[in-house]
């Protein structure tokens, strides 16, 4: 539970990253709408659609994680390992965003927003809030490294509700910036934006670090563990604990 506010902040600040991909969609939602519609409401509904999808994916990931750990109980502490993995990916992503690590050379999916915009055009342009909602629901499925990193985190949370909560907190965090960009366009000077980017990056690194720490703590079995660890795992956990 301790991470949820942090994940929210990660989403809030990390959404500076979203502006690149989902931002154009939010803007075209405003631009394509018929005159006289309530733009703010449409933007919020659009974002809620996104959060709905994130939550859905989080629940799926949570269930998957839970299933994995129930299937492998006693042999591998899959939940703990998932937490470590998710943490590592988050730290990596954060460091790349912060500029500490170089950007990966291959940037695939970079042409995606334009393609998606074509696909979602019908929904984005439809009057009323239903179109905006459905557009949001589909926008949530657009591939995004940050979302996937948090999905891993949701998978390590161990249940569908925690998975749902993880992704929903992340999604709620992304709402303010997305609504602002869609509603008002320019809101921050470039210099300020760079600083926000930076803080966001370190927030993600912190979320990742906490996730790793928790995973490692789980790997260290309490004294009264009911099931015996397999020797292989026990040896590994000892090593990682040192």
């Amino acid at each position: 539970m301790i991470e949820l506010p942090l994940i929210f902040v990660g989403g809030l600040l990390g959404s500076a990253h979203c502006l690149g991909m989902c931002g154009p969609l939010a803007i075209s939602l405003s631009a394509g709408a018929p005159a006289g519609t309530n733009q703010l409401r449409r933007q919020i509904v659009f974002s809620l659609g996104r959060v709905f999808t994130y939550g859905f994916c989080g629940a799926v990931a949570g269930l998957g994680g839970a299933w994995l750990s129930s299937e492998s109980r006693g042999f591998v502490l899959s939940q703990a390992w998932l937490a470590v993995l998710a943490g590592a990916v988050l730290v990596l992503m954060g460091l790349v965003t912060a500029g500490v690590l170089p950007r990966p050379a291959i940037r695939f999916l970079s042409g995606l927003p334009c393609g998606a915009a074509g696909w979602l055009k019908t929904f984005l342009a439809a009057p009323g809030w239903l179109g905006a909602l459905v557009a949001g629901v589909f926008t949530g499925f657009i591939p995004c490294g940050l979302v996937y990193a948090f999905l891993l985190k949701a998978g390590s949370s161990g249940g569908i509700w925690m998975g749902w909560l993880t992704m929903a907190s992340f999604g709620l965090g992304t709402i303010p910036l997305m609504v602002l960009i869609g509603y008002g366009g320019q809101f921050l000077a470039t210099a300020h934006r760079a600083r926000v980017f930076h803080i966001a990056a370190w927030c993600i690194v912190l979320t990742g670090a906490i996730s790793i720490a928790r995973g490692v703590a789980q790997l260290n079995p309490p004294a009264d563990a009911v099931t015996a660890d397999c020797p292989f795992c026990a040896e590994r956990t000892e090593r990682s604990a040192q």
Partner: protein, 744 residues
């Protein structure tokens, strides 16, 4: 049985309605019929015109249904997680109550999905029932209804499994799959639509008051006068009544050079008027003109069903009833040995995974896309069957004159008597020849121009044409000059110079000759040679690369035929009268498929005898119907291109058929054993259809022949007008240079 009925077509994608098992013979001729619910949905969206609200509605319904389905999935997952943590679920007193809430929530959220997505499927089933045909959609609908019904009863009784997620997900996957499939199928006709779109929708017709009024194309009648401005395409066939222009008729003839057209010349619809203001008298109005006839021909070509298609049709007819029986049997078995709900799920999975769509589409999708692609490149197949035969052809026989050679003679050499000035002889001959339209005269004029005769040919000569002999005329500074054959010289009692008289006689393979003389003396002789087409060597090379065995059939005498045959390295069979050609082809046909390529005029019987007759340079003359394949352009390379396309088409047809059969066999077996969840079955079915569709659509992107040789249908009228002068001039120059090279 439907297979014997006249073919009917989907009102949206234009593909034939899949053969279906029908009960009774009577059918209602009900309005628009669609091949699947995908086509119906997409059609309803597109027919709604540009009304945003209406058009978005249908897609929006799909979107909302997906939203609800995601909700159902979350609740179902919550129930599943109860299974994962079985002990915790029982320990927690709240868990039981929560479970009931989730079950009710699943019910509430899955009902809208049924209403939103089940409706179009139900409409389709209703329509096919009215046609007294049974489709798998009926079974899918029954299966989904059963899944919903069973789950609703379970919720009400608060015991037993629920399968709302199965029903909802199956509906969503089917709808998405059909949607994508319909979109893909619609692209089959894209190449043809591109052709049709070329014609302007309105024309300027000369009204009673002498003013030109813009009217819809359909209202033009034969005999009307229409005006076509520079940069516009001609919408009808007609004859120029005033004005002249450079015209780009690539679309019809495949020729990439602009042609000068003046009063009295014919114009084909689809031609681009590059730079002139033309008044045209309509000879063939809308629907009758060239482009429309091309489109009609291709659409007719789709009607004939090839061997593969008939096979698939026969199977498809029995496919649905067989699947029904298997589904019921498998469901019954599972129901007895396991439980009632397992039986329903198994039957539903069997029906879902069987994909008559993939089977029925495998051939027509590929063939139709290829027919459209070919038409787009100026190659018209008279039917899909012809394409099927062309793919398996082993021998390619070429007619010589007009096919391998240009058909128009070229003056290859001028021999002059001793002491004569070749320039002068040439000039005099050209002056005479300019007064005649005869092919040989034109060749002499061209020859003199190529010789660097910059001085304009004297055209004021009074030239008399003597049929079958030649020309006689008064030339300034020369007196009466005679240009013609040996007989004309003798009749005019011209004296032979030794060297000319003997030169003409030596050798059996006497080329055609034309003498020129004046003042009672024969001064020179022009020798004419047949010119190989510039592209002949490349085209034959391409044929050999395809593994075709080549032959040349000609009515010419042996020596001349062999001379040409050696130059292009193909065995020549000479002295063939039209009937002989047919016999030769028949004997070849015993060893493998034979394609005969000719100009379709004098070798019509041969074209009709061959397995595939290919007429070269049909142009607008589509009536040469002895040929199975019409190459609109005058480019021999279109033939190997067409063979390549036909082979690729049937490679894809075989892939499609193999995939459809293998998929259905494995899928149905797996589903009947009860090991396949209906959700995966629905997903697999959608994937299967989409795979067949995308695989076939690859043909639409079959590469162009060679740069400039094959027409690509993009409206380049703007750019064409912009750079008309440099391009036209440049092309003209190069072509002249080429001629000089071949002539000298």
């Amino acid at each position: 049985m439907s297979a014997s009925d006249p073919p009917r077509y989907c009102a949206f994608c234009g593909l034939p309605l899949t053969a279906s098992f029908s009960v009774g013979g009577d059918r209602l001729a009900a309005g628009d019929e669609y091949c699947c619910s995908g086509c119906r949905t997409v059609a309803s969206v597109e027919n709604a015109g540009r009304e945003q609200g209406e058009s978005a509605n249908s897609l929006l319904r799909l979107g909302i249904a997906i939203f609800f389905t995601m909700n159902v999935m979350v609740f179902t997952m919550a129930l599943w997680s109860g299974d994962v943590y079985a002990e915790e679920a029982f320990a927690n007193p709240l868990a039981g109550a929560l479970r009931g809430v989730f079950r009710w929530a699943s019910l509430m959220f899955s009902l809208p999905v049924l209403l939103l997505l089940g409706k179009p499927i139900a409409e389709g089933v209703w329509e096919s029932l009215r046609r007294k045909a049974i489709t798998t959609d009926l079974l899918v609908l029954l299966g989904i209804a059963a899944a919903y019904g069973y789950s609703i009863v379970s919720v009400l009784r608060d015991e037993g499994h629920i399968y709302f997620e199965v029903g909802a997900m199956v509906l969503v996957f089917i709808s998405i799959g059909r949607w994508l499939e319909a979109k893909g199928k619609h692209q089959t006709g894209e190449s043809l639509d591109a052709l049709a779109r070329l014609l302007p929708t309105t024309v300027r017709r000369l009204g009673a008051g002498g003013a030109f009024l813009e009217i819809p194309r359909e209202e033009v009648r034969t005999g009307d006068i229409v005006r076509v401005l520079p940069g516009e395409r001609v919408a009808i066939d007609g004859v120029i009544s005033s004005g002249s222009a450079a015209v780009d008729q690539q679309i019809v003839t495949g020729e990439s050079r602009y042609v000068e057209k003046k009063v009295g010349d014919r114009l084909f619809s689809g031609s681009l008027n590059v730079d002139g203001d033309l008044r045209i008298e309509v000879t063939a109005a809308d629907g009758e003109e060239t482009i429309s006839r091309i489109l009609k021909l291709v659409r007719e070509a789709r009607r004939a069903k090839g061997r593969h298609e008939r096979l698939a049709d026969r199977i498809a007819t029995w496919f649905v009833p067989t699947v029904c029986v298997i589904a019921i049997a498998a469901g019954w078995r599972q129901g007895i040995s396991n439980s009632f709900d397992q039986g329903i799920l198994t039957a539903l999975a069997v029906v879902l995974i069987s994909c008559p769509c993939a089977l029925g589409l495998a051939t027509p999708m590929a063939v139709w896309t290829a027919l459209g692609r070919a038409a787009n490149a100026g190659v018209l197949f008279r039917s899909g069957m012809v394409m099927e035969r062309l793919a398996t052809v082993r021998y390619a026989c070429f007619d010589k004159t007009g096919t391998l050679t240009t058909g128009s003679p070229e003056a290859g050499e001028l021999l002059v008597a001793t002491g004569e000035d070749p320039q002068r002889v040439c000039r005099v001959a050209a002056a005479l020849a300019a007064g005649s339209n005869h092919a040989l005269s034109q060749a002499i004029v061209r020859f003199s121009q190529q010789r660097g005769e910059t001085q304009p040919v004297v055209e004021d000569a009074e030239v008399r044409s003597i049929p079958g002999r030649g020309l006689v005329g008064e030339i300034a500074g020369v007196g009466q000059a005679v240009l013609g054959n040996r007989r004309l010289m003798e009749e005019n009692r011209l004296r032979w110079r030794e060297e000319l008289g003997s030169a003409a006689i030596e050798g059996d393979a006497s080329p055609q000759e034309v003498f020129i003389g004046w003042e009672n003396v024969v001064r020179g002789v022009f020798y004419f040679a047949e010119q190989l087409r510039a592209e002949a060597t490349t085209a034959l090379e391409a044929c050999r690369d395809l593994g075709l065995e080549l032959r040349m059939l000609t009515g010419d005498e042996q020596q001349r035929a062999e001379l040409i045959g050696e130059r292009i390295n193909i065995p020549a069979t000479s002295g063939q009268l039209p009937e002989d050609k047919s016999t030769t082809l028949e004997s070849l046909a015993r060893q493998g498929g034979v394609a005969m390529i000719g100009d379709g005029l004098n070798d019509a019987p041969a074209l009709a005898t061959a397995d595939v007759g290919v007429a070269l340079g049909c142009g607008a003359d589509l009536s040469r119907d002895t040929a199975g394949v019409c190459l609109l352009g005058d480019d021999l390379r279109s033939f190997p291109w067409a063979v390549g396309l036909a082979r690729q088409t049937f490679r894809i047809v075989k892939q499609n058929l193999f995939w459809a059969f293998a998929y259905n066999c494995c899928g149905i077996a797996l589903a009947a054993s009860g090991r396949l969840n209906p959700i995966w079955a629905a997903l697999a079915m959608a994937a299967s259809s989409i795979m067949v569709v995308t695989n076939s659509l690859r043909l639409g992107r079959y590469p162009e022949l060679l740069s400039g040789a094959v027409v690509s249908i993009t409206d380049t009228s703007q750019t064409a007008v912009a750079n008309v002068l440099p391009t036209a001039g440049g092309e003209h120059e190069t072509s002249e240079q080429e001629l000089i090279v071949t002539a000298s």
